[in-house]
Symmetry: C2
Subunit: 351 residues, 2 copies
């Protein structure tokens, strides 16, 4: 099987390090993955334009190999005072427990979020980043057009066949299929969250049969067996998050790494909207359990994310993993505390 | 890789036809699968001892090849008058719409259900059925002991690593791993239903690393790509339900077959407890949608199953697929109306 994707990306191995947002994808991690022959990726979802540029330049200074970046596509949202007030009341006990002052929350408006997104796109074009992927929806046709014109390879994220078909129709170059196994935020944008929960074993073959652009499999893949299985099903590469999260170079909080590495239970991850207002898979803890009853009434993304930021920061400082977001896929048992280079080699070496 | 399972089962191909209960696994289907070199299986979950015996004898008359049978392990349940009454009220509009008299519902007690189960086990021992698998929990150590002594190969069904370890510890010979992709009833018995929803891509490798008995993968597998992917991940065989359901020899209702074969949407299946009181995956229809609001208050399995029986029967007679249970895995797009022999060959042929 010729691998169009590897050729187009100019990488040696069908391994993409998932662009995990929030400081996990340090320049060290991205450089190490790309140097090892995979594709390192910046999770730039929560960055502003200038920090995005800084990280891109840091990576360019560290490697000549291709790398990529991921952006969150903004969707319209409203700042609803009463919904926010109710959410603040439900979060108060956690802030008090952490000895943190609840303080004022400053929200970006949808228009501001969109402006930051477009500034990031401008930076990516100026810096000629080889690969740009998107989550939480599809960028406008203008954005796709300008990126492609600048030579950037564009990748969408789909959770269903319909979403993959929409990404192909929009003219993007490839599609990441996010299976229900995946850790972190769900990338659904046409399907509801329940309908987006399709396992890769079912999702990959039905999609590759109907979509002509290369398909990248993401979700629960942790070792060579998973990479090979994804290829059997028709994917041209595998994108791994949790497996890279516990690598030496990853910027994930030590408690986050420990929580994954200690796992001897396969059934400890769960979906929650409590941290950000958008469904994401992580290791269940007190915060998730206690917020369950109000979960359906929370403000939408990214409002709730802004509201919980002081809790997550204070929890990290207090070493309290019970109030941190511990994103994790469905296979933490196979995570290892190794270097990214070691991981890439383990993923592709022959027996 | 030596395949212990194929040797133990004396079958040629790593293909098991899932034991779908409720009249789908006709003797013709089971015989055709076993004759083609796979393992045909009777879904005996809803049968009584004598009908179980009749089907076994019919299959023995039609093939000398090995075949198997599946039983539902009964769990204690109670007949709660007020819960049942509320459920009857919520079902009344459907019965009226179908022009059916609501009539009286006769429930088997847990003790009667257990008695039927033990009579089935006795029949399986007397008839020397080569393989017996179990769903909805583990049989008692006595049942496992007597079956193994009679030379029957015993298989448990697990949805998590913990459940697979429990099945191994109980002394069963092999374990079916039911991924979240699977159609029909969930087989979880230690995990809650949410925690049982693990995709095969994550579930198989973490289980084969810790369990020594052979692992059989079930859920969303529809063609050779899925069989090979399951083997890459460490499974010794694949068990397919939906793919065999649309075969010529299957006893599934024609409307059920059509609903699967027409599917051009991958996101149309959903989990529901509305039909039986136990979570199961099927194609969403009016009954599932309308019952959603009372779903958490319904009587448990098999009480709710008894309550909805007149609805399902009348719906089948009226050709109304909106009130039938249309069990289906997450990959209906790959289903074909072919013979079981053709399907087995497609699943194992080299390119």
């Amino acid at each position: 099987m010729t691998n169009r994707l590897l050729k187009a990306l100019s990488i040696s191995h069908p391994i993409i390090q998932a662009p995990m947002a929030g400081g996990i994808t340090t320049a060290e991690l991205v450089i190490a993955v790309s140097e090892a022959g995979g594709l390192g990726m910046i999770g730039a979802g929560y960055l502003e334009a200038e920090s995005t540029r800084r990280q891109i330049q840091e990576i360019k200074a560290g490697t000549n190999k291709p790398f990529g970046i991921n952006l969150f596509v903004p969707s319209p949202y409203k700042e609803e005072k009463d919904v926010i007030h109710r959410a603040q009341l439900s979060l108060k006990p956690f802030l008090e427990k952490l000895g943190s002052l609840s303080g004022e929350n400053a929200f970006n408006s949808y228009e501001q979020t969109l402006e930051i997104f477009l500034e990031q796109v401008k930076v990516i074009i100026e810096e000629q980043v080889p690969v740009c992927s998107f989550t939480f929806g599809m960028p406008s046709s203008d954005v796709i057009h300008f990126l492609k014109q600048a030579g950037t390879y564009t990748i969408g994220t789909a959770t269903t066949l319909s979403e993959a078909l929409a990404i192909e129709a929009a003219g993007m170059d490839a599609v990441v299929l996010q299976g229900s196994e995946a850790g972190g935020h769900r990338g659904h944008f046409l399907a509801g969250v329940e309908q987006s929960m399709i396992g890769l074993m079912a999702l990959i073959p039905q999609t590759v049969d109907q979509v002509n652009i290369p398909v990248i499999a993401a979700g629960g893949i942790m070792d060579r067996r998973g990479v090979q299985a994804a290829q059997c099903l028709g994917a041209q590469a595998a994108q791994l998050g949790t497996a890279f999260l516990t690598c030496t170079e990853s910027g994930a909080n030590t408690l986050h790494k420990q929580a994954i590495l200690e796992g001897q239970q396969e059934d400890k991850t769960t979906l929650t909207k409590a941290f950000s207002g958008k469904a994401a898979r992580g290791i269940e803890n007190d915060f998730i359990r206690n917020m369950r009853k109000v979960e359906q009434e929370l403000p939408e993304f990214p409002i709730q994310n802004t509201l919980t930021k002081p809790i997550r920061s204070a929890a990290a400082q207090n070493n309290d993993r019970n109030m941190m977001s511990l994103w994790c896929g469905q296979n933490p048992n196979l995570a290892e505390p190794i270097t990214a280079k070691q991981l890439v080699h383990k993923l592709v070496d022959e027996e």
